[in-house]
Amino acid sequence: MNASIAPADASASALDTVPKLLLHNARQYGSRPAFREKAFGIWQTWTWAQTKDEIEAFAVGLELLGLKAGETVAIIGDNRPHLYWAFCAAQSLGAIPVPVYQDSVADEMSYVLTHAEVKFAIVENQEQVDKVLSVAGDVGTIRKIIYNDERGLQKYDANDLVSIESLQEAGRKALKSDPAVRKAWLDGIAAGKGSDVSVVLYTSGTTGRPKGVMLTQENVVVSGRNANLFDHFTPDDTMIAYLPMAWVGDHIFSYGQAFAGALCVSCPESPETIIEDRREIGPTYFFAPPRVFENMLTQIMVRMEDAGGLKKGVFDYFLKVARRVGEPMLDGRPVSFGDRLRYRLGDLLVYGPLRNRMGFSNLRVAYTAGEAIGPELFSFFRSLGMNLKQLYGQTEASVFITLQPNGEVYPETVGKPGPDVQIKIAENGEVLFKSPGVFLRYYKNDDATAETKTADGWVHTGDAGFIDQRGHLRIIDRAKDVGRLTDGTLFAPKYIENRLKFYPEIKEAVAIGHGREFVTVLINIDLTSVGNWAERNNVIYASYQELAAHPDVYTMIEKRIDELNKSLASEEMVAGSQIRRFLILHKELDADDGELTRTQKVRRSFIADRYAPLITALYDGTKRCLIKTEVTFEDGRKGVIEGDVKIVDMKKYPPVKAAVREAAE
């Protein structure tokens, strides 16, 4: 027994870097698919052996171009196999890839490129080349831009640019002419250590400038391997890579986990074709933030509204069945024979086709994270037979802190600590963790490192939460966002915002109350859902602004907030933070205007500044407020939106929880 375990362990410990995993996968799974990409409407596949050859040529090409160990390389673009290879190629030379959000504007990009002192930029296409060129002068360290897609670039100055293809060509030539080249490359990989810095990931910056989180090879490899073990992923599993490559989630899922477990990664044809491409690929492993699931549900419901009576009837009936027995069946709890039969029939008629429509026919595990997901939304997908689970993580942890194990999925929690992860709760309610994924440090920012990481290796998450009696972690808010009203009542803005966002009509909400007498909210309506309502009710509107100001829309939102207040009144902890006044914003919150982060999280302090007149109006009793807001269009031009915003007063309910409990007892 011991003899057979020892070599396996030894080989596992030797595979402590991604380039080593590449060589291992090429040997072990050489003919199995590693990457897929749709080009000209046809899926192209690279096996692990081919992937190794591509990366090898790429790496040698980069070396010929002068890339040295320890230097940083920016990687910018949509998910493309060539860009994933760029990570591995750079790492095989000891260089450090720095992925940058592909939709960041030149100014944001300039900050990251300058801070990281990048020497080369490997980018997808002309759009990114233009952006990098426009900031190259300020950054000052960029020696060459390497691009994937040649379109539109033929007439650019060849001194600045080189294509990945020609780089690989040069690499292949060198490999062919001199066997020492290959040996040097392999030696370089063998010399790599698990403690080497593998990547610098810039956090999206909910507050202030982005910070560069440095992860080691081991962070990525072990986190990927543990996650694969947790959900039993094998080389038969496949996923679709569509989330930003600069985001830690994609880096761990589509790169760390994929290399650690030899999973297959498929890249969509374009960001607009993801739904179609997902249907064609049928991933077994899928990750999406809650809003992706929200959009799917909205689309299904909108389409069903337009369906014929029979179809609608069947759909409604079986959805009711699923709501009752779907989740118990998924968790393996006992369900009566009749219900089982009904569910099977529903699977044939409704759930199966729905899953197929969404591209989830082969799905084994799906995760959502990033934000709280509405319990109804969560249950909807689970009741259709999809194993959707939540996880909790962050960049500093190489994603995984807690995950929901199969069969132990509670919508209000984020699960149990992952393999080798320890968590504890500080006195102020903040969650701390220790894990193999704990980041090395922030790049060139020791103060922030010291603030976040304690001497004995615990990391402050900045989130407030508690561990419930089942051992599951429950997050309520950002630790520093938890505030108090003037009368001392606890105020957790995110809790209220999330509760509001669970209503389909509300897309975004910002709650205000810390240091104030009562709680107020700014609302963004959901244009899809409310727009559909408007269409059905013959409400005519020309823009978001017009619809948002419609009296009927106000009535609708008022009803929802009243519902929420009633429900808050029954929860002891938050009964005091019922919403007393609200308004619907005249424009949609947008990352281009700096109101949301690139991962679509609300930037509270920025909004407080920008909409100061509205917030004053919320507290001084006025009924209307005129507001002028500067907006940035997608092409960077600026304009002004002006609006007259109505403010509505809400009724407060007396706290009822205690009374109910007494009555029940």
Binding site: G41, L133, S134, I142, R151, E269, E634, D635
Partner: protein
């Protein structure tokens, strides 16, 4: 990296300004063309030429005869007088079929797509003239017909990729937003691999971003495929940015012809656009 790379003009102008494309000989010339519908004179005695490889704009106020002029060029309308010389052959009347098979393709002001068909099929329709196999082979969808279809499908896929419309490949075009339909129509015109591309208000009804995209497509087609482009457009910013020469019509007459700069300074053009007090 050199500092001068920062001083690039805006995207739309960039490909053009830095290009080394050549403007060749006259490929099409219109001489003394007049066209009347009954008593209404749509075009009176207009002459101008289009050189190989250039972007030629035709502008003018509403009802100036711009679309009629395009229709004369590709044979929809037959002029009462005058001649059209295309690739050295002088004709008094152009036939649409001849125009198409000789390498003139066009898009329409009010869109003329097959609304019930998918984007793919619409663009495929643009390849019809290039298909060699007959109805029977096509119906069998086998052997040479199949390999021919694969070849054409590849060409169509390249166009889809170029115009970035992968996501609507299989969507019926009637349901698409206007801006996208315009793009599909351009795709169909490109599928003919034309030497001369006639665009009738390619940017009408588009927002700024769509206009920018469309400008970029037109410039790239002109620049990389060497396609000669004649376009009618109302957005003066776009016209002045992307065209090499501009001909201005008013009430069916030519009132100016020259580079964008020359035309912009021409008093008659200013009067025609801004009005004149009598």
């Amino acid at each position: 990296m050199k500092a001068d790379v920062q001083e690039r003009p805006e995207v739309a102008g960039a490909a053009h300004a830095g290009s080394d494309r050549e403007i060749g000989d006259v490929v099409l010339s219109v001489e003394n063309v007049s066209l009347a519908f009954g008593g209404v004179k749509a075009i009176s005695d207009v002459s101008f030429d289009i050189r190989k490889g250039e972007i030629r704009a035709i502008i003018g106020p509403n009802g100036a005869g711009k679309t009629s002029m395009l229709n004369v060029i590709n044979g929809f309308y037959h002029p009462n007088q005058g001649t059209i010389t295309f690739k050295g052959r002088k004709r008094s009347v152009m036939r649409p079929y001849i125009a198409a098979s000789q390498g003139i393709s066009r898009t329409f002001q009010n869109l003329a797509l097959f609304k019930g068909m998918s984007t793919l099929d619409n663009i495929m329709a643009g390849r019809a003239l290039k298909m060699r196999r007959g109805l029977l082979w096509q119906a069998l969808h086998w052997g040479p017909a199949l390999s021919e279809e694969i070849k054409h499908r590849e060409a169509v896929e390249k166009i889809i990729d170029f115009l970035e419309i992968q996501h609507i490949r299989k969507a019926p075009v009637g349901k698409l937003p206007y801006g996208l339909q315009k793009r599909v129509e351009l795709g169909r015109a490109l599928a003919m691999e034309p030497e001369l591309l006639l665009l009738d208000e390619p940017m009408a009804g588009m927002n700024l971003e769509e206009k920018k995209d469309m400008s970029r497509y037109i410039l790239t087609v002109n620049d990389q495929l060497g396609t000669t482009v004649a376009l009618i457009e109302h957005d003066m910013g776009v016209v002045m940015d992307i065209s090499d020469r501009v001909v201005v019509l008013e009430y069916g007459r030519k009132i100016a012809d020259g580079t964008p700069d020359e035309v912009q300074r021409d008093q008659r053009v200013i009067d025609a656009y801004l009005g004149i007090s009598h």
